[in-house]
């Protein structure tokens, strides 16, 4: 069974700039993987290579076993670009209809209605793109990416222009997609969003993969905080599994234990540690 998305030794040069320096990454069926990294880390380049918009200098990128950019790969793919625009004179319904034709989707009006409802744009069905807010256009972009029920979804900053309610709509949508077995590569700057919905997280820095794992794995234990009559003591390096033993030892030593807390680093702390405070 091929990976939903697989990149191996992926390199991309733009003249003298090496945007990607041999990245390996796989997204399994029904998995939601978040891509993190500072500006210029190569996240959008990776997503564009997977979408077949950019040719890799070296390495391999495949969608469900087919070379990225090939007709077979594009047939099962949904993509939302970071910077995109729809013709301003099209209505929301017409945009989706155009993409239905190009994706050879036979979902008809029912599919369009369902997608517009999914992104909370049912009331704006006949509104022209010109008359939509940036957030509405972005939600329409998400709906467009879902035309034809793709098995793999590449979302490049899908919530960058959304308000908190819009972000929640997209987050719920992603969770629903996961239950349907859709694989998603989500490129976002919003750590909290990634932490909430993603099964795994990959952190890119200067074109290299510097960390990868589930949010829980990346949120490493920082120790156990034990509160006794002597005050609060931190046992560094201890994990959740060590908590009962530490409490038992304290009690055996005649201490009164008032509280115990497992300390873990947040994804944000892990991210900042991985990228070394880089922003671009």
């Amino acid at each position: 069974m091929p990976h939903a998305l697989a990149v191996e030794g992926l390199e991309k040069r733009y003249g003298p700039v090496r945007a990607l320096k041999g990245v390996d990454l796989a997204v399994e069926e029904g998995e939601l993987v978040g891509l993190l990294g500072p500006n210029g880390a190569g996240k959008s380049t990776l997503v564009k290579i997977a979408a077949g918009l950019v040719r890799p200098t070296r390495g391999r990128a495949e969608i469900a076993g087919s070379r990225a950019g090939s007709r077979a790969a594009r047939a099962g793919l949904g993509y939302l670009a970071e910077l995109f625009r729809f013709p301003g004179w099209y209505s929301a319904d017409e945009v989706l209809e155009l993409h239905q034709r190009l994706a050879r989707s036979n979902g008809g009006a029912a599919e369009r209605t369902r997608l517009l409802e999914l992104v909370a744009l049912a009331d704006a069905r006949d509104r022209r793109v010109d008359g939509m807010s940036k957030g509405m256009q972005q939600r329409l972009g998400v709906a467009q990416a879902l035309v034809g029920s793709p098995r793999v979804l590449l979302l490049d900053e899908p919530t960058s222009a959304l308000d908190p309610v819009g972000r929640r709509t997209v987050r719920l949508l992603l969770e629903e997609l996961r239950t349907r077995g859709v694989s998603v590569l989500l490129n976002s700057h919003l750590l909290s969003e990634i932490e909430l919905v993603c099964d795994r997280v990959a952190i890119l820095l200067a074109g290299e993969l510097v960390a990868a794992g589930s949010p829980a794995e990346l949120s490493r234990p920082r120790g156990i905080e034990l509160e006794t009559e002597e005050g609060v003591r931190t046992v560094e390096g201890a994990s959740r599994e060590d908590a009962p033993r530490l409490v038992a030892e304290a009690v055996a030593a005649g201490r009164k234990v008032y509280g115990v807390r497992v300390l873990t680093s947040t994804l944000e702390e892990t991210y900042l540690e991985a990228v070394g405070g880089e922003t671009s």
Binding site: L53, F84, F86, R104
Partner: protein, 285 residues
């Protein structure tokens, strides 16, 4: 086929929205009115023109061929304006605006996308050129009761010339920004016209160097050669001094003509399209 029609329709709607057709139609209406006015007065005063008795000039044929040559030049120019504005930003322009990426990732593919845009622009421009050429023929026939010896072929050659410009503009749209592409295509068009006029001057002065330069330009820019061949065909009935006088003017006709240039024009079009497809296939978006 459905995808081809969808994309061609998409380009058509974009052109309507950007008022490309509105501008071209207004310009065309102005031109056709002025052309009717000119034809009306020229043919109305034809009887008052009296060349020397020993010089036999067929004034009706001269006036008809000259006016139709002028109409063909204007039709080619307007056709090129339409062609360029329909295609100058098909790749770079749309990619810069973020319009292209959502379309390219769809299963239709880049080749279908580009060829559909070519087909859409080609159909619009061919219909436009043939319509304007046909109306100009009608005006001359109504005003001066003159028709050229060849009717269909010159119009088709004009349309063919515009189709070649569309292909060149598509190549430019892959490698240049919209503005640079528009400038480049209009400069190529201008260079072609100047080369054609140089050929006329070269033959009038019997300058082999100028003739040679004009010949090279005609093969390098076959849209100009097709237009010149069209001019040759409409003045085919002129003989003697009438033909000589027409040859001296700006609408004198081709010195490179016949099936060779037509076959080369078709091959040139195929090569230009192949280059555009290859360049688009390799282009990062």
């Amino acid at each position: 086929m459905s995808a081809v029609l969808t994309i061609a329709g998409y380009g058509f709607r974009e052109a309507v929205r950007r008022k490309v057709f509105a501008v071209v139609l207004v310009l065309t209406a102005v031109f056709l009115f002025l052309f009717w006015l000119a034809s009306h007065y020229v043919f109305g005063q034809l009887s008052s023109i009296s060349p020397p008795a020993d010089v036999h000039v067929d004034t009706r044929t001269f006036a008809g061929a000259f006016l139709l040559g002028l109409a063909m030049f204007a039709t080619l120019f307007l056709g090129v304006v339409l062609a360029v504005f329909l295609t100058l930003g098909v790749v770079s322009g749309d990619a810069e605006r973020g319009l292209l990426q959502p379309l390219v990732v769809r299963p239709v593919g880049r080749a279908t996308l580009l060829l559909s845009r070519f087909l859409g622009a080609g159909i619009v421009c061919v219909v436009y050129v043939l319509a304007v050429y046909g109306i100009a023929l009608g005006i001359i026939d109504a005003a001066g009761h003159w028709t050229p010896p060849a009717i269909a072929a010159p119009g088709l050659e004009l349309a063919g010339g515009v189709v070649i410009v569309i292909a060149l503009s598509l190549v430019g749209s892959v490698v240049l920004s919209s503005t640079a592409n528009g400038i480049a295509i209009f400069m190529l068009f201008g260079a072609g016209l100047v080369a054609g006029l140089l050929g006329t001057i070269g033959h009038a002065l019997n300058s082999h160097t100028i003739q040679h330069a004009s010949t090279i330009a005609a093969w390098a820019l076959p849209f100009e050669a097709l237009y010149q061949d069209g001019l040759r065909l409409i003045s085919g009935s002129a003989t003697g001094v009438t033909s000589f006088l027409l040859q001296l003017g700006p609408f004198g006709g081709a010195y490179i003509h016949g099936w060779q240039i037509r076959v080369w024009a078709a091959a040139y079009l195929a090569i230009a399209l192949a280059v555009a497809l290859l360049a688009f296939r390799r282009r990062d978006l």
